[in-house]
């Protein structure tokens, strides 16, 4: 066994605003199959967090079970992590988010974890608008159990063993739009130029941000006839627009006719170019139409699909305290007899 990552890094690695290099956002060496799309997504997450200059200890990684849910071990090694029960990551995320709204919650799930066993949890997390990134590493198969079709496998897609899937796929992006998710995007593990800005925008989004990332399973679902293989996706990909993330205070450079700029909640912006005709990212109906049109044409629509930049996340809806519970001191938690009296009085 010679699979050991050297400790040396490039001597001239750039540093971000808080003086960290990309090394500070790395995790352990991946044990997934060589060439797994999930590793590429991990690389994109590392790059996005490095570029946003988030302090690693301000991030909590959450996952369920599956190849996808192993990946939090392979990125952000200096961040908090919770590897939960299969399909139950949204519950843990809900609890963590309610307890401490100040952290960045980064949920990682898979097509089995979200579209089958965890579907009930997934839809309620959307409905409640948790302020989190919910990234699905979607390979259309159960890689850990030798590649059976998952619920996101397309009707007609061929497995490595040669059998054809006879059921319709659950489209997580369509579902997200339907259920009122406030940030919906799809991407491809082989397109970091698109994926990294989407992750950055999703982190900055103040509500539930769903990114469905098609992530080919090189071992069980990269064969001819599969609709989730590297080749098939590359041949059928169609982007709503190009995506650039522009940090706060940075000037937007290009301005073309078919472009759009969306200012995010914190003042940073998304610069979209080469917009799809008739598509308005801030209009749910046009997003749904674009998605359906692409589906009819047999295309895989990627990029930002829908965004509602200013949204009320769960804490805003519940009007809960802005202070993380772990920093609430006794004087606030136990305000004394007078406060109790006043409360009781108000209820009489």
């Amino acid at each position: 066994m010679t699979y050991v990552r050297p400790t040396f890094r490039h001597p001239d690695l750039p540093k971000n605003k808080i003086d960290f290099t990309k090394k500070d956002y790395e995790g352990a060496l991946s044990t997934l199959c060589a060439g797994c799309g999930h590793d590429s997504i991990s690389g994109a997450i590392i790059q996005a967090c490095f570029e946003l200059a988030i302090e690693p200890h301000r991030i909590a990684k959450l996952s369920g079970i599956g190849c996808s849910s192993k990946t939090p071990a392979y990125f952000l090694g200096n961040s908090h992590g919770f590897n939960s029960v299969h399909g139950r990551m949204p519950s843990v995320a809900t609890g963590a988010y309610l307890a401490n709204r100040d952290l960045v919650y980064f949920g990682v799930s898979g097509d089995g974890d979200s579209a089958s066993i965890g579907m009930g949890q997934f839809v309620h997390a959307i409905r409640r608008n948790l302020n989190m990134v919910y990234l699905v590493m979607n390979n259309g198969c159960y890689g850990l159990t030798k590649g059976q079709d998952s619920a996101t496998a397309d009707n007609g897609s061929k497995s490595k063993a040669g059998s054809t899937n006879m059921f319709n796929a659950i489209d997580l992006v369509g579902l997200g739009l339907e259920l009122g998710a406030t940030f919906v995007a799809r991407s491809f593990s082989g397109d970091k130029a698109q994926l990294i800005p989407l992750i950055k925008a999703a982190i900055k989004h103040p509500g539930f941000a769903l990114i469905d990332v098609i992530s080919p399973c090189v071992t069980f679902n990269n064969n001819v006839g599969s609709t989730k293989s590297y080749d098939y996706v590359r041949e059928h990909i169609d982007a709503t627009s190009t995506v650039d993330f522009v940090p706060i205070m940075e000037e937007i450079t290009a301005n073309y006719e078919d472009s759009k700029e969306i200012t995010l909640h914190d003042g940073s912006a998304l610069q979209l170019q080469k917009l799809h005709q008739g598509w308005n990212p801030e209009d749910r109906l046009s997003a749904m139409t674009a998605l359906q049109n692409a589906k009819e044409k047999g295309e895989i629509l990627t990029g930002l699909v829908y965004i509602e930049p200013n949204t009320n996340a769960l804490h805003d809806v519940l009007q809960t305290t802005k202070t993380p519970l772990n920093t609430l001191k006794e004087d606030l938690l136990c305000p004394g007899i007078d406060a109790l009296e006043a409360l009781n009085e108000s209820l009489r």
Binding site: M1, T2, Y3, V4, R5, P6, T7, F8, R9, H10, P11, D12, L13, P14, K22, L29, S30, C33, A34, G35, C36, G37, D39, S40, S42, G43, S189, G190, K192, P216, V218, N222, Y230, D231, R234
Partner: protein, 596 residues
């Protein structure tokens, strides 16, 4: 950029920084791996084949390989390549059966070698196994040239030198020692098929015009002449107070030798700033370790004698000033002159070529500096029978350069004697073989060791200063030698990319610990270097550029600069588009009978 032509052997050769920087292109990682495997004899023979004097060079080489070592770009210090060579030499077994066999029947050609230094001995080693009758001439009593006369025994024990010189002389070489050649014409008249001149740079520079030079003459010595005199035991002592003039390695050898011959207050005095001295940093350190101060920025003004007895020297203090082109001038500081006492002064301010014994009507052209016009590839002079090598050819350099030039001259002499054109040089021997053994298994040790460079232990100063012949450096023992060998990054195990297998999954790009690999749209080199994953600052390090990739139309660009050759790109590649393949490069040599 155009796709890189990896079929040109020089591409992968250049990736092996140490080997590429070595004038003789010794396959460094190859022998370092053999040392790690405790195959010292084999490691020695890889060296012997390439640089002829592994034991000598493992102690004294100028080591151009080490500043080039890739490890020095990712770690604080390069691999101790030179001293690992010594580990191989110190621990080797019997090699006599591995030395080339001399054909019982010669090829009828006779070659004369003038001078028995490293260049000539290399020519002898390369040509003797081919059946040439080799005659070597030297004025000294033994072979070795400057390795014997100028390198002190406390750096290079005589036994080590004798062994390696004799390995060559025993190849049936006709030896003419204690024979000063005073006329090249007479040698040519003897009917040799070719003559090789490897007489070095035998004349030390003097300060003839400095005031007081003549009066103090009895106690003013030329550095290299004095070292030779010590080596051949004509000189056995020196005064208590010694000034050594000069900042090169000869000056370091002079001052350290003085300490062993009775010099108690030995000082090195040099015109230039300390940082710009020619001496290797480790030789300066060794001198200072022996309580020898180095006074820089002191320009000699005069020798001072009283009643015919040298008393010392005066110096003017200067500082270095640089113009906008970086040209240095030494400007006096205006401080009063400094007087330094001395019983003896050693002048080690450089050495030069000297050819009074070559008649100027033999068809050998000399330039205005009295240097022969020598072709820097073939080492042939303007007299087609006469070849030059070593310091005699292109001016003073070092032993490893002399060896490299000897190899080239031997190829030329061999071609010349067969009536073939000299400018059509035989190709180097190259080989490229996959190292894959299994999913995570390579046939080389791909794990990158974290160790810092190990320090070579030295004998106690009290012992070494009292015995001129006691070797100062003790060398690495086997265990430390192994650990130091493990620091080698195996740069000869190349990252070979086959684009038509690549599915562009990004696995290699994500895993690479030093961010060497980028997939991007093609552009000019200047443009590409700005768009790589990590800064690309060393422009002399090549970019490996693939053909256009089918799926996305991008190219794979790998900056060779700080690749650790850890093999992770190949381990994470699902389609074996990346493979780790060992590249072996052996420079062209005249002889073929050598085993390696």
């Amino acid at each position: 950029m155009e796709p890189t032509n990896v079929h040109d052997p020089e591409y992968y050769h250049k990736v092996v920084d140490c080997q590429y920087a070595c004038p003789a292109h010794t396959p460094v990682p190859e022998y370092i791996r053999l040392i790690a495997a405790e195959k010292y004899t084999e490691a020695y023979m890889v060296n012997w084949e390439s640089n002829v004097f592994p034991g000598v060079l493992g102690r004294t080489c100028d080591r151009p390989c080490e500043p080039a070592c890739r490890r020095g770009r990712v770690d604080e210090e390069p691999v101790a390549i030179c001293r690992l060579k010594r580990v191989a030499a110190d621990n080797k077994g019997d090699i006599t059966h591995l030395l080339p066999k001399i054909p019982t029947k010669g090829n009828g050609k006779r070659i004369a070698l003038i001078g028995a230094g490293p260049a000539s001995l290399t020519v002898a080693r390369d040509l003797a196994p081919l059946g040439y009758e080799i005659h070597v001439f030297d004025e000294q009593i033994k072979g070795g040239g400057m390795m014997r006369s100028q390198i002190p025994s406390f750096r290079l024990p005589e036994t080590v030198l004798d062994e390696e010189v004799n390995n060559i002389l025993n190849l049936g070489i006709h030896q003419h020692f204690k024979t000063y050649v005073s006329s090249l014409k007479s040698v040519l008249d003897d009917g040799y098929d070719a003559v090789f001149i490897g007489t070095g740079a035998p004349r030390g520079r003097d300060l003839s015009n400095l005031p007081g030079r003549a009066e103090g003459a009895a106690n003013i010595h030329i550095g290299i002449e004095w070292l030779a005199s010590v080596a051949f035991e004509h000189t056995k002592k020196i005064g208590k107070k010694v000034i050594v003039l000069g900042g090169g390695n000869t000056a370091m050898d002079c001052c350290r030798t003085s300490r062993r011959l009775g010099g108690e207050e030995v000082k090195v005095v040099v015109r230039s700033p300390f940082s710009e001295m020619r001496a290797s940093p480790w030789e300066k350190e060794d001198a200072m370790h022996e309580d020898i101060p180095i006074l820089d920025n002191h320009v000699p003004i005069s020798f001072v004698s009283e009643n015919g007895q040298l008393k010392g020297m005066t110096f003017e203090k200067v500082h270095a000033v640089y113009d906008e082109k970086g040209k240095r001038s030494l400007v006096p500081t205006g401080e009063p002159h400094v007087f330094i006492e001395a019983d003896d002064v050693l002048v080690a301010i450089g050495q030069e070529n000297y050819f009074p014994w070559i008649e100027r009507d033999l068809g050998i052209e000399f330039d205005k500096w009295e240097m022969p016009n020598v072709n820097s590839t073939t080492f042939q002079s303007t007299n087609e029978k006469v070849f030059f090598g070593g310091d005699a050819a292109l001016g003073p350099k070092n032993v490893i350069t002399a060896v490299a030039q000897g190899h080239s001259a031997a190829v030329s002499i061999d071609l010349y004697c067969q009536g073939k054109p000299l400018d059509v040089r035989p190709d180097p021997f190259t080989n490229l073989v996959s190292q894959k053994m299994g999913i995570h298994e390579w046939s080389y040790d791909s794990i990158v060791a974290d160790d810092d460079r190990f320090v070579v232990p030295q004998a106690a100063k009290a012992v070494t200063l009292s015995d001129r012949k006691k070797e100062v450096e003790l060398g690495f023992d086997k265990l430390v030698g192994f650990k130091e060998a493990e620091r080698c990054l195996n740069c000869d195990v190349q990252t070979v990319f086959t684009e038509n297998r690549c599915i562009e999954c990004d696995a290699c790009m994500d895993i690479c610990p030093t961010d060497c690999i980028t997939f991007t749209v093609n552009g000019t080199e200047e443009d590409l270097r700005t768009r790589l994953k990590a800064p690309s600052l060393h422009l002399n390090q090549d970019l490996l550029v693939s053909n256009t990739l089918a799926a996305t139309g991008r190219v794979m660009v790998k900056d060779e600069d700080v690749c650790l050759h850890c093999g992770l790109c190949a381990e994470r590649c699902p389609t074996s588009a990346w493979d780790m393949q060992k590249f072996f490069y052996n420079t062209t040599k005249a002889h073929h009978g050598c085993s390696h």
